[in-house]
């Protein structure tokens, strides 16, 4: 019997094969999560239907999806870029906060600057905040003093405290409010938003960052060196590539990406510096990058998927009375399925 055309096409094309694998994993995870929901006495089909309706069928819902994707894309690049050199960056959380912090500093220091000056400044500061925060573990690793996994992990928890310290102290807003935060930033510092939604220019920044990541690694001469280090550090060194320098640069660039995410949240969404900026974007970014195997297209798809899942979490809470946190189970199941495949296709 002749092979169905679709199956043949899938068999022949590696890109379609990869997509088919992603799809299979997601469907399997949805099935397991449905079982979990059933056990908890909820209606999974209803939940899934509601989610689809809220996110894909509804314009505002879809826009919220993109809002969630924005920091996820950047957090994933923050992990993926150093990973190409074999470096493990689990410090996205901290780098995000420091980017937000430094960007806020700029906005608060120069509130009267015009937008065309302030916006770029704030963006650069956001990048710099994350970059410097990640450069610390980078230098420690370059000098072979401390492993970057541990160093980035530890610094994760210091950064939010720096933010808290600032908004409880020197940057405390004079307005009385339920919780402490910085004063609102001048409009000039705010990222423009689109179409009556919360989508802000940060989305463009994150897409640009993803594109930059792809171009840098795949198309430039620096990318060749970076991938050489990731593929065979000894050979790279023997061939004259300055490995220690690249370690610091790569981690700094990754951190800068996460910093941009923080800047985006603070300049695009909140309009001020507050606590709780990140519900785990850094870690989610790690998992997105890891699931995508560092591939740019995969990052885009996975970020979209994770954004949908977090939206599902909101829907579940509202319509089914299930705490939002339960959606983490779905995330975990997806990861488990991928991790449990021996020598899986995701690095």
């Amino acid at each position: 019997m002749p092979e169905p055309a679709l199956a043949a096409a899938v068999r022949r094309s590696p890109a379609l094969r990869a997509s088919a694998r992603y799809l299979a994993v997601v469907l399997a995870a949805l099935a397991v999560f449905a079982a979990v929901l059933l056990l908890a006495g909820k209606d999974p089909l209803r939940a899934y239907a509601d989610t689809f309706r809220d996110t894909l069928a509804d314009a505002y819902g879809f826009s919220e999806l993109l809002v969630r994707m924005t920091p996820l894309l950047l957090a994933a690049v923050a992990v993926a870029l150093p990973a190409r050199l074999g470096l493990i960056n689990v410090g996205g959380e901290g780098q995000l906060y420091m980017g937000a912090w430094l960007a806020s500093a700029g906005a608060l220091l120069f509130p009267r600057w015009p937008a065309w000056l302030l916006l770029p400044l704030v963006a650069m500061l956001g990048f710099a905040g994350g970059a410097l925060w990640a450069a610390i573990p980078g230098v420690l690793r370059g000098l072979r003093l401390v492993n970057e996994t541990i160093a980035t992990l530890l610094l994760n928890y210091v950064a939010p405290l720096v933010v808290s310290y600032s908004i409880f102290g020197p940057w405390r807003s004079a307005e009385s409010s339920a919780y402490p935060q910085s004063p609102a930033f001048a409009d000039a510092a705010r990222l423009p938003s689109f179409l009556d939604t919360r989508i802000h220019a940060g989305l463009l920044v994150s897409l640009a960052a993803l594109l930059f990541y792809w171009l840098l690694l795949e198309k430039t001469r620096w990318g060749v060196q970076m991938r050489a280090i990731g593929g065979n550090p000894e050979a790279a060194q023997r061939l004259g590539i300055p490995v220690a320098v690249w370690i610091v640069v790569a981690l700094a660039m990754g951190g800068g990406m996460a910093g941009l995410a923080g800047m985006g949240e603070v300049m695009g969404i909140h309009g001020r510096l507050r606590q709780g900026l990140s519900p785990g974007y850094g870690f989610t970014g790690f998992l997105i990058a890891w699931l995508a195997g560092g591939r740019a297209m995969g990052i885009l798809l996975m970020a979209f998927l994770f954004a949908m899942i977090t939206s599902a979490g909101d829907t579940l809470q509202i319509t089914q009375g299930v705490p939002y946190a339960v959606v983490n189970i779905l995330l975990a199941v997806i990861l488990f399925i991928v991790l449990a495949r021996r020598r899986g296709w995701a690095r």
Binding site: T220, V224, G231, N232, A235, R238, L239, I241
Partner: protein, 519 residues
């Protein structure tokens, strides 16, 4: 304890016997009809140069690999060794070149881990007592509470031996045990052999160090190219005999030697020099001691030596990977002591390694991308690489070397060993390097690839490049070297012009024995 009670009477069968062992690896016959007998209370030395088949034989004796033909007998009975566990159960213990010790744990803990009868609650004193008792009996004095990583290599070896003794081994196989020992530690080990021998243990002492073999062996077997070349009696043999058996009666120099040496521009200074170079070593590395080395344009300088004499360290020092702890490095008359690897490469230092996949290529990247690595700034075009120009330059290089161009889009790991080496060579020679450092360049290659590699080293020399050839193959060195240096223990112990040496002389220097023949 000890196998003495099993009787060492002349009529007793040997403890372990190997008969007609044959093992083939592809085109190479690593062991070809080898017989070996290990008797109680005897030290049996197994000699041979690198590649003679010693390590294959020892792996067979220890159950790591199975022979294609032949049999093993334990106490006269045929046995099959499916794994090292079988060997251990019989009582065959092996002391490897790289120790299976856990550095962070103490001597006592390392040994206790291996004991089959360790109780659930570890009584440190009891085990410590056993260790000390054995240590006193055989001269293996170690402090049981010392962490292994703090021990000298010689003491670590003692721990390995104690481990085997406590685990009731009766045959002890030592694979090149003195390679990493200092002279006084070697003497201590010989004393340990004596003590073990007296208690009836059988010892197989695999080595290439003739003096030591002669000093302590009761029996000697010499392997050459997979076969038993001879079984000289220790009381009748001397270093010269052994060297002859190990290296054969080879005439130095090939037919190629008849060619006139290429003319050098008059007054040309050396391309590369090391003056009084010292380097530090960590772990099992060999420190370089006050090396003087000169390489001129249009000459191949060969470096002979048994493994562990400092070859890799020398290569890394020249390439800039290893810093000089004392002395200077000169390139084309300039002080290059503190040049970076990139700068050395830029000025024309090229590297042909023994293991291209591990040392000179990135397995996951395409051939094309591998070709641009290490070419410095030559093919940069703004933010990208000028791929067309690279391709044409590399294709030209392949062509000049008469190599087929490999498919550029395939990943490097998909190439065969020979093709990978060719790729690396084409890249390294593409820009007319001034100096080529070749470190075991033909190791692991098939015969045809090896021949072509040698040919192009010669061709490089003919075009005025200086070549440093570090090799373990004396035939290769004889064929290619315009000058031959012998490296031993991190220092140069001999220098010869083409045609001015015999395998015997060099063999002596390589194994650190200055035989009567040289006196």
């Amino acid at each position: 304890m000890g196998p003495r009670d099993a009787g060492t009477s002349p009529g007793a069968p040997p403890l372990l016997e190997a008969r007609s062992i044959r093992k083939r690896y592809g085109p190479v016959l690593a062991n070809d009809g080898v017989d070996l007998t290990l008797c109680r209370g005897e030290v049996h030395a197994l000699l041979g140069e690198n590649g003679a088949g010693k390590s294959t034989l020892s792996k067979i004796l220890y159950g790591f690999i199975r022979p294609d033909a032949g049999e093993l007998l334990w106490n006269g009975e045929r046995v099959e060794l499916g794994s090292p566990r079988d060997a251990r159960r019989l009582g065959i213990g092996m002391v490897f070149q790289s120790f299976m010790l856990i550095p962070a744990l103490s001597v006592l803990e390392n040994i206790a881990l291996f004991l089959g009868d360790l109780p659930a609650i570890v009584r440190g004193e009891a085990v410590g007592r056993r260790i000390r008792a054995l240590g006193d009996r055989f001269g293996l004095h170690v402090d049981p509470s010392a962490p292994v990583r703090q021990l000298s290599v010689g003491d670590q070896q003692k721990v390995e031996i104690l481990k085997l003794l406590l685990a009731e081994a009766r045959v002890l196989v030592f694979d090149e045990p003195t390679k990493v020992l200092a002279p006084h530690e070697v003497r201590a080990l010989v004393r340990v052999f004596g003590a073990l021998k007296a208690e009836g243990y059988a010892i197989l002492f695999i080595t290439h160090k003739l003096r030591e073999a002669l000093a302590c062996a009761d029996r000697i077997t010499v392997l050459r190219q997979g076969r038993v070349a001879g079984r000289p009696r220790p009381d009748q043999a001397d270093a010269a005999t052994l060297v002859k058996l190990m290296f054969g009666d080879r005439e130095p120099g090939p037919s190629v030697a008849a060619e006139a040496a290429p003319s050098r521009p008059p007054g040309a200074g050396p391309i590369f020099e090391l003056r009084g170079a010292w380097s530090r070593a960590s772990g099992s590395e060999t420190p370089l001691r006050g090396l003087d080395l000169t390489i001129r344009a249009g000459e191949i300088v060969g470096v002979a030596g048994v493994s562990g004499s400092g070859q890799k360290e020398l290569g890394d020092l020249i390439l800039g990977l290893r810093p000089l702890s004392a002395g200077t490095r000169w390139f084309d008359g300039e002080d290059a002591s503190s040049w970076s690897i990139a700068r050395l490469r830029e000025r024309g230092v090229a590297f042909v390694p023994e293991d291209p996949l591990a040392m000179a290529a990135v397995p996951g990247m395409s051939v094309r991308e591998n070709l641009v690595l290490g070419t410095g700034r030559r093919y940069w075009k703004g933010a990208t690489v000028d791929w067309p120009r690279l391709e044409s330059a590399m294709t030209a290089s392949f062509g000049a070397l008469a190599f087929p161009v490999p498919p550029l889009d395939r990943p490097a790991f998909a190439l065969s060993g020979g093709n990978l080496q060719r790729m690396v060579i084409a890249r390294e020679l593409a820009h007319a390097p001034r100096l080529v450092v070749a470190l075991y360049p033909t190791r692991g290659l098939d015969v045809r690839s090896a021949v072509s590699v040698r040919e192009l080293l010669q061709r490089a020399r003919d075009t005025g490049t200086g070549v440093l050839l570090i090799s373990e193959d004396l035939d290769e060195l004889a064929e290619l070297s315009d000058r031959l240096l012998v490296l031993y223990g991190g220092a140069v112990t001999g220098e010869f012009a083409r045609g001015g040496w015999t395998a015997e002389e060099v063999g002596h220097l390589m194994t650190g024995s200055k035989g009567a023949a040289l006196a």
